[in-house]
């Protein structure tokens, strides 16, 4: 059986719907997710770079582990666990944005996303994606990441990479221009 068909079949069983939506994310909303990425991510990434972030975000959702232990912190410490998969709400947000993102012009796409974020009362860029709205979470996924940090400073800092000590006493090299 084709994987997508299998996931659709599983999705009708009670309790397995969330699992299927997570495992198959973004499913038939992949084109909307790409359009959303093109609206909320910087154009400097280029269309290839934007698609790559959308793909990575999809993988991030698929590999999300509901109930996983969270870091219990230091100072004021507590045991917390990861909430349920954000996939179902993301799919709903994407479905709501579908008409605007796939048919409207650039200003219309932008207006639709802004309106959705205001409606969802998103006040800040989330620290880690938290399912308040897929647009905010996609932005947090990218802008809170190491690659965005490099892009902001136009330097190959590589914050989240293991880079060795050599050369760290100099400023990081400038980002390579896209060919």
């Amino acid at each position: 059986m084709h994987r997508r068909n299998l996931l659709r079949w599983i999705a009708v069983l009670p309790g397995l719907r969330t699992w299927a939506q997570t495992a198959g994310f973004p499913g038939d909303q992949a084109d909307v997710l790409r359009a959303l990425a093109a609206t909320v991510l910087p154009s400097e990434l280029g269309s290839e770079g934007i698609d790559r972030v959308a793909t990575d975000f999809g993988r991030w959702v698929r590999e999300y582990r509901a109930g996983a232990e969270l870091d219990h912190g230091y100072g004021f410490t507590r045991i917390r666990r990861k909430g349920p998969s954000p996939a179902p709400s993301y799919l709903q947000h994407l479905a709501e944005l579908r008409p605007a993102l796939l048919t409207a012009d650039s200003a219309g796409r932008r207006a639709a996303v802004l309106s959705a974020l205001e409606q969802a009362k998103v006040a800040e860029l989330p620290r880690t994606p938290g399912s308040q709205h897929v647009a905010a979470d996609l932005m947090a996924f990218y802008f809170r990441g190491s690659d965005a940090n490099d892009l902001c400073y136009r330097a190959a800092i590589g914050r989240d990479r293991c880079r060795g000590l050599q050369g760290s006493d100099n400023p990081p090299p400038p980002l390579k221009e896209k060919a």
């Binding site: 999300y64 996983a68 230091y74 998103v122 006040a123 880690t128 940090n149 902001c152 800092i157 293991c162």
Partner: protein
């Protein structure tokens, strides 16, 4: 009931237990040593890169399973309970205390003096640095003399730290690389730091953690590690004041308790669980718990307070070059004569605070894509320094760990509750301390056209210690300078609980140095 016999039974499996067990096993090769730890062993170095990535991507616990759900204490600053303890995820900072910490009473009329000499402790600092593998550079202050060089050269200062050092020193305060238990070259079988920027989960082992010591110990024939085993009480020899046994339960076989019998017992469970076990072990003969004729077990719980500032400066800082490495100054380590008592260290780290991406611009409107990046770039023109000073505060007698009968673990044992209370002289000088830090932050900010973004005062005591303080007088202390309890000649307490005061900088190196000194006394009791 199962029975396990050994020559030395060490209760607790953190950094002091690891260091003690290793040194004892070197000094007494034939002696059997058993470490009993309530938590799990997390020895899977091969998975740490994966855990690190999950922590970055999902904020998941980088040490999965490093706690016991129902073994929690109120007022504790870390939930970690695993083989290796808090030093699994520590930052590796290895600062020494100073002579003032040991002579508070004789020099300043405050607190108490420690019952040991600075010169003697200094020797054990050197040993602790060797065993942990510390990289560092010496302080420029003569009072911070050291009898041996650091085992490894200091961590290279990143471009960011060089900028921050130049800024900090404009105010006449010398700064240098903070010593850390991180390899700057191959050392002790562990590789050089590769700057992963996630020291709380070092994926390579370049930052020391006790699991490496335990794995080495496990290769020795006379060493046993009993993990997932909670010691619930200590039992006395009939008619004597010596400890006969430790009663424990295994998390994996809860219906089959274990009794540990040994000529020497050592509590190496840290500032919280060591006094807790002594209080739990109360009996008709010792209704206030063991080692507690002074009534001081669980008292004088200490730590140091801290004040922090984020200061924006004219400097090109690239956040993320090596956020876990910072600068230190010990310029304020000595209280000035004729002025109110005040001692603190001073630390600077790179920071992205104030320059992080934001969803809403200054007018409150939502920023998308290019607008967000453009706003971020404008704000990232200047750099941010994170500045912190840990300052010396002293505990009141009623700074306490007590048994909380309203909160019990699955075995029905009351869990600890810690409530810190500062002594009257510390409280009296708090305003002076606050004013000093505000002035200091302003002085620092002035250089490089700086602007203070925020300041804060700690709302907990960091690097906690105490609860079984050392001293020569059994009426005013729980143990002697070797951690040998005054009341039970075969019961020792090592590490953080023995400290009468917690200094004004990170404590782990001091906990380890004191433990290595205790090891020699303990070895003398082992046949």
């Amino acid at each position: 009931m199962r029975r396990h016999e050994c020559d030395v039974c060490i209760i607790g499996g953190g950094v002091t237990a690891a260091m003690l067990a290793l040194k004892l096993s070197e000094m007494r090769r034939e002696a059997s040593i058993t470490v009993v730890e309530a938590g799990r062993p997390l020895f899977d170095l091969e998975n740490r890169m994966h855990y690190r990535q999950r922590s970055i991507d999902y904020a998941e616990n980088p040490w999965p399973g490093d706690f016991i759900e129902d073994q929690a204490a109120k007022g504790v600053i870390s939930r970690t309970m695993a083989v290796g303890g808090s030093a699994l995820h520590w930052g590796g900072t290895c600062n020494r205390f100073s002579q003032e910490d040991l002579r508070l009473h004789s020099m300043f009329g405050l607190g108490v003096d420690w019952p040991l000499d600075w010169k003697e402790l200094e020797r054990y600092y050197c040993e602790a640095e060797r065993r942990l593998g510390v990289s560092g550079e010496p302080s420029p202050f003569a009072e911070d003399w050291r009898s041996e060089p650091y085992p490894m050269p200091a961590m290279a200062m990143t471009h960011n730290l060089k900028e921050l050092k130049a800024w900090g020193e404009k105010s006449g305060i010398p700064f240098w690389s903070t010593p850390q238990a991180k390899n700057t070259r191959l050392y002790d079988g562990r590789g050089e730091c590769i700057r992963c920027n996630t020291c709380s989960i070092c994926p390579t082992g370049a930052r020391y953690s006790p699991d490496f010591t335990f794995r080495r110990l496990l290769a020795r024939k006379n060493f046993a590690l009993h993990d997932q085993t909670l010691v619930r009480r200590l039992e006395l020899d009939s008619g004597k004041s010596t400890i006969a046994a430790a009663q424990a339960v295994s998390q994996t076989a809860p219906d089959d308790p274990i009794e540990y019998r040994a000529p020497v017992f050592v509590l190496a469970s840290g500032y919280c669980w060591s006094p807790h076990l002594l209080l739990l072990s109360r009996s008709e003969r010792f209704p206030n718990g063991l080692a507690n004729r002074s009534g001081l077990v669980g008292r004088y719980m200490c730590g140091h307070a801290f004040q922090s500032a984020f200061i924006e400066i004219d400097a090109k800082i690239y956040p993320g070059m090596n956020e876990q490495h910072g600068l230190i100054s010990r310029k304020f380590f000595r209280s000035k004569p004729g002025q109110p008592f005040l001692r603190h260290d001073l630390r600077i780290w790179e920071s992205a605070s104030g320059h992080e991406p934001r969803l809403r611009g200054a007018d409150g409107g939502i920023l998308l894509g290019d607008d967000l990046l453009s706003d971020w770039r404008k704000r990232a023109q200047r750099g941010t320094a994170r500045v912190r000073g840990y300052y010396d505060v002293h505990p009141d007698r009623n700074s306490m760990l007590t048994l909380d009968t309203t909160s019990r673990n699955r075995w029905g044992d009351p869990l600890p509750a810690i409530e810190h209370k500062l002594d009257a002289p510390t409280q009296a000088r708090q305003q002076y301390t606050n004013e000093h830090f505000q002035k200091l932050f302003q002085t620092l900010a002035k250089a490089h056209n700086g602007k203070i973004l925020s300041t804060s005062l700690s709302n907990y005591l960091d690097h906690p210690a105490g609860g079984c303080r050392m001293g020569t007088n059994p009426a005013t202390s729980v143990c002697d300078s070797f951690g040998q309890t005054h009341d039970h000649e075969n019961l020792f307490v090592v590490g953080s609980p023995t400290l009468p005061n917690a200094g004004c900088t990170n404590g782990t190196l001091t906990f380890v140095a004191l433990t290595l000194r205790s090891a020699e006394r303990i070895a003398g009791r082992v046949k």
